[in-house]
Symmetry: C2
Amino acid sequence: MSIQRRQFIKAAGLGAIGSAVAAPAIAQSAPEIKWRLTSSFPKSLDTIYGAAETFSRMVAEMTDNKFQIQSFAGGEVVPALQALDAVQNGTVEACHTAMYYYWGKDPTFAFGTAVPFGLNSRQEDAWMYQGGGIDLFNDFLKSYNVYGLPGGNTGCQMGGWFRKEISGVDDLKGLKMRIGGFAGTVLQKLGVVPQQVAGGDIYPALEKGTIDAAEWVGPYDDEKLGFHKVAPIYHFPGWWEGGAMLHFGFNIAKFNELPKSYQSIVRNAAAFANTDMQAKYDARNPGALKKLVAEGTKLRPFPQPVMDACYKAAQEVYAETAAKNANFKKVHDIYMAFRNDQYQWWQVAEYNYDNFMVRARPWQ
Amino acid sequence: MSIQRRQFIKAAGLGAIGSAVAAPAIAQSAPEIKWRLTSSFPKSLDTIYGAAETFSRMVAEMTDNKFQIQSFAGGEVVPALQALDAVQNGTVEACHTAMYYYWGKDPTFAFGTAVPFGLNSRQEDAWMYQGGGIDLFNDFLKSYNVYGLPGGNTGCQMGGWFRKEISGVDDLKGLKMRIGGFAGTVLQKLGVVPQQVAGGDIYPALEKGTIDAAEWVGPYDDEKLGFHKVAPIYHFPGWWEGGAMLHFGFNIAKFNELPKSYQSIVRNAAAFANTDMQAKYDARNPGALKKLVAEGTKLRPFPQPVMDACYKAAQEVYAETAAKNANFKKVHDIYMAFRNDQYQWWQVAEYNYDNFMVRARPWQ
């Protein structure tokens, strides 16, 4: 917190307000405020990290630079995977993170980012903005002292890089794959041995054969790390991230102290960054894909029996988790009902249109 | 223009600035401004019309109600299809419209909304926000004295309501269909006789058989008008609107007079409304689809030979139009190259993910 901010709050005599919907108690309509935002990402992931910068830039522009939010890469202020904790305890006012990183605290966090065989990117927006998702997820986040807003999306991710092609379910047995969280738990049921490997260590591990496979993001991010040179099979789709949504997280008390106009500015800037980040991935992935294919990458869909087995294993993990965790069950049931309705409609116009366009494209 | 606004401009001694990127010359950082926005839509299309209200609400919230934009339904201030003209000549400061309504002035306008076999909704965002689309389209709009920003999307529309099923290309010959603009021109090549029928007149025309078919939007809007009761065949997809993007249009001089912070607020509010409107359609279409099917609607894909013939006819119209219009050719070539790259990538992860999910859904 900056000096200006501390003085300001002291002058206004404010404490924590406690509820995300409370009316702001600040009289001054356009105060000077400086916040810090900790990202869970390195600057090298320019598309994801860039969403935090876009957000900050928009907030600054809209307030004539009165409200400034400085963003820090993962590790600069707090470790990458403690971004939420830092907001919860007030070390920083804001974070930009993937909620499923906190799956270990409570698996319900996963619904904020992506769950196996979940919504695609556009459907996640529908759920969040118009399907009650933002409110439902914040009911859950409240006990962590965090108010969350959608903050970008990667779109459907790739299934990752494999030294050998996966031809059937048996090929998963004993496979050492760099994959975590919910997806790792599902794949364990099929014999995969999930590995925790930091981004910078994946390449040498794949090269030496310490691991057999690794998932990262998609063409634009993956190409920069050069995985295709040591593991040429690029499987798809990443069924554990049909759309991976990022979140901005705000300390609830700090958010409530903002003037109402600034709260709205934060909501609009977050929504702008949310759309802009997906647009950036969509605009950049095609060029990276071409480059990867030109350099020998072999694109391979996961075989249908593998997809079916993973789907079945995911249902088992959902059932087991829901039986143990009421938060999870509540959000799961609402989310999955929404997903089923979404795909019932999606299969009509959207899917058939894309189907035709995918086949028509080579005519060009 | 409100009295406050006129006095304000008079006091500041401002004229039109002339370029959308000029620095604002207003000293007062948060002036009181009242604008009028004319929509091309009736309030009954609550999802589309609602995007203008969402935009205005966000601008008001972010400025502590200092910048108020009152929205009017089509016909309240100017006729629905003259919204762009009203902004061009300064009758109102802003509009919310579909740019392809102005196809008669110049077919290049169509790229602002949808063109046959064009980008889907998410790809349109990618093109606009990160593919140079906003700048390219504004290069074109400049001569109309309008600055445009994406302002919502319907997603892929349906192919419309047919009294009899289209089983092959021959069924298009002599078909009297309520369809306009670019799509009508394409369908004419296959023998369709395009009809101009206002929204409120479609139902009786279908009932009496004055027309054989009519396209409108998709389940949520169509169900309200009851077309399924008189024309039970619901064909898909609406290949002429793979994603129909709306636009906010602003009088360039009026936009340039805004303080820079207000310009940014307008950009962010427009982006919010853009995403929120698509989310609203996505959230509401599934329920409407269920209702339509329960009431006897027969969902039918256009047969593959019909899609192929329409694609071929569209290429002919593109070639003919590009040969006559340099604006059109310039935007067409950039847009189609972007589209081809988009679908090359889309067919990998996104399409395969949706494909699996569409098939997995009935398991629930």
